[in-house]
């Protein structure tokens, strides 16, 4: 019987057996002083689609790793209470045994493969399960057909986009014919449009048997009506459950534009060629002090190249860029790439031309005092970004360029980012942000630049842009929810 699962009646779900059961469960990492979870309980039934929902750092991935038995062995964690899988104590399963019934798709598209091509990766999976050679051939062909990936059979995985890599990872999981499919934030590294396509793709797959899907997720809004239940992950007690969850997208506070009349950055007819390849073609634009602009466009359209050119990392072949006495500052997607010292305070102090009072002032404004002695690599992602911005401020750079700061961030982190950027604009900095997240862009930006094939294809005031449906589609962007396209 073909079973699409999502629209099953409540009565049927209740009648199915519990296959994953956490009871009074406590878990602690050996390096930590207190447990991640204390006496939590929840259960999952066969055939359900469940989301484990909670902010970053709440330990929801840890729960997933306990279900597929990566933990506790891999981290030597201490546990109390019980985990029962298919009415058996989880500890009774031999290494690898559970992985024949529970398959997992992880969040990072780039670290899930050990073989070069799609076919070889699938063969690796089946060899692990001791499947015979003819059966391998059969199962690979069948799964590729089911997932619509047949044309990629011989493709080198590294040449695929992030979204396609996640589909391949999912196909490898399906190939194992598991009873449970675990998804560990599979959308975290995808841009919103790609993420939406992935969810649609996953939803339309036709299963020949009832499959349980458990996903860890912080952004339920992208999933639509995919899940039957959402379990709110908390540090202790019975975890609360929500039926048929849908999550409205994040609402940001209203902000008042802080634009000042003086020009902070002006680029005129900028061209960039690297090794015979044209990265940027005749780019001209200007930013005023206090202006927040978003730069959007498809992957590979030259957004990062533009940022790197403005701040002088990439050499321009032609054109002029003016930004007063200092070059603009740049914060990469991984802010730690900027770090060159071993203490947060040294990091801010690294540029020699800043006085001690100014450093103290920057530390206070960016709330860095509490971590001033910490190693810049060991603080949280949000703190790393604040340190990175701090280094740019202490260099007295008048413009801040942020590359993909929204990628993989949960609601709390996005709101913090909003306030962080807003506060800098009020201080008079011009800010240019590359992002795919149009909800965030709509909330923060004064101006939106579109980019395609190395050229700026438009400059819009924030409110006007979202009405241009065709234009958004051409630049592979999703209009923010809440903006009416047909007024």
């Amino acid at each position: 019987m073909v079973n699409t699962l999502s629209k099953k009646s409540q009565v049927e779900i209740v009648a199915t057996p519990v296959i994953i059961d956490f009871k009074d469960f406590t878990f602690q990492f050996p390096e930590d002083e207190s447990p991640v979870f204390r006496n939590i309980s929840f259960s999952i039934q066969a055939g359900e689609r469940v989301a484990l929902y909670g902010p970053s750092g709440c330990g929801k991935s840890t729960l997933l790793y306990l279900m597929n038995r990566l933990y506790p062995d891999n981290c030597d964690g201490d546990l109390e209470g019980s985990i029962t899988l298919w009415q058996r104590d989880a500890a009774c399963f031999a290494p690898g045994e559970i992985n024949h019934r529970v398959a997992t798709v992880f969040q990072d598209p780039d670290t899930q493969f050990c073989m070069p091509t799609v076919e070889q990766e699938m063969a690796f999976t089946l060899e692990n399960l001791h499947v015979t050679r003819p059966e391998m051939e059969h199962r690979i062909t069948e799964t590729l057909e089911m997932t619509g990936l047949t044309q990629f059979r011989k493709t080198t995985i590294q040449t695929l986009s992030g979204g396609m890599k996640q589909r391949v990872a999912t196909a490898c999981a399906i190939l194992m014919q598991p009873e449970v499919l675990l998804l560990d934030e599979p959308l975290a590294h995808l841009d919103p449009l790609t993420a939406k396509h992935y969810v649609e793709w996953l939803d339309t797959l036709k299963w020949s048997y009832p499959l349980t899907i458990v996903a860890v997720e912080h952004q339920l809004d992208l999933w639509g009506t995919f899940f039957d239940r959402a379990i709110h992950v908390r540090a202790s007690g019975d975890l609360p459950i929500e039926l048929n969850p849908t999550k409205p997208c994040i609402t940001f506070p209203k902000r008042v534009s802080a634009i000042q009349p003086e020009v902070a950055l002006e680029a005129k007819n900028v061209h960039v060629h690297v090794k015979g390849k044209q990265l940027l073609k005749d780019v001209s634009f200007q930013l005023q002090r206090g202006e927040i602009a978003v730069l959007a466009g498809p992957n590979g359209s030259g957004k990062s190249s533009l940022l790197k050119t403005i701040c002088g990392i990439l050499k321009k072949s032609d054109g002029t860029i003016k930004s007063g006495t200092m070059l603009p500052g740049y914060v990469p997607q991984s802010p730690e790439q900027l770090f060159v010292t071993q203490r947060v305070k040294d990091e801010i102090r690294f540029s020699n031309n800043t006085k001690e009072e100014e450093i103290t002032d920057i530390m206070t404004r960016l709330r860095l005092n509490e971590i001033e002695q910490a190693h810049p690599f060991s603080v949280s992602h949000g703190q790393k970004r604040r340190v990175a911005i701090g280094t740019m401020l202490s260099d007295k750079r008048p413009v801040l360029l942020l590359d993909e700061p929204t990628s993989g961030q949960d609601e709390a982190a996005l709101k913090e980012l909003f306030h962080l950027i807003n506060a800098r604009a009020k201080e008079g900095f011009a800010i240019l942000i590359v992002t795919h997240d149009m909800t965030f862009a709509a909330a923060i930006a004064d101006t939106i630049f579109l980019m395609n094939h190395g050229q700026l294809t438009g400059r819009f005031d924030n409110d006007v842009m979202w009405l241009q449906e065709k234009l958004l589609e051409k630049h592979q962007l999703v209009a923010p929810i809440g903006v009416c396209l047909h007024d």
Binding site: P116, M176, L314
Partner: protein, 253 residues
Amino acid sequence: MTSRTWLHDMNPSLKFIIVLVSMLTLAWFFNPWTPLLFFLGVILLQLLFSRVNWKVWSLFMIPIAFTAIGYLWTTLLFAADTSGHVIWTWGKFEVTNTQWNTALSLSFRVFAFSSMSLLFALTTDPVKFVMSLMQQLRLSPKLAYGVMVGYQFLPVVKDEFILIRHAHRLRGVGEEKHVWQRLLGMRRLLIPLLAGAVRRAERSAFAMEARGFTGERRSAYYEPISINARDWLLATIIMVLLIGSGVAGFLLH
């Protein structure tokens, strides 16, 4: 000509062993003829049985030539055995025929070794090599697939290296002049790279285990690699060349 694919199709493990045996054997010869003849023989083999891109081959050989020259004059200056008759003098400095022969031998050895290495490198698919080590030489799957994950990481290392260099340029580091400063400066580059590598290692290992990989031996391979009659023929040809150049060197010396 179909024989031009033979070396490319040869079983990688067998090729690997043959290369090692040749090198370890050549190490015992100190006459100039043996390594020279072997070097020329290997080039002939590649002409007959492979489609080597000779431009690439030359690019690899140029730095090797430097090493060979270095060996030549170091051995001339610092030879242990200075017997034999003097064939050349320059001021106080004398070169005997024994010295000259040993020096030539060591330089030609560098060429012989490199030609054999290039024969391997330019005709062997790295992935097939590791898979063959696992299938023929019983390399543990844990190590074999561990190496495969690392190999997938290689292009990422290069990209990250560039990204970090770019970011550091913005902070005004990375342009140190002194060798010592540069060596110490490598720490700044390496630590972010290694920190990224640690994260990646854990994620990759988890992904493999979640797919049921336990490191135990496999019962069936999707792409089995075997050793066939032609592989043995090629191995024999190289062995004959090796013994031939050994004997010839002994006779000519």
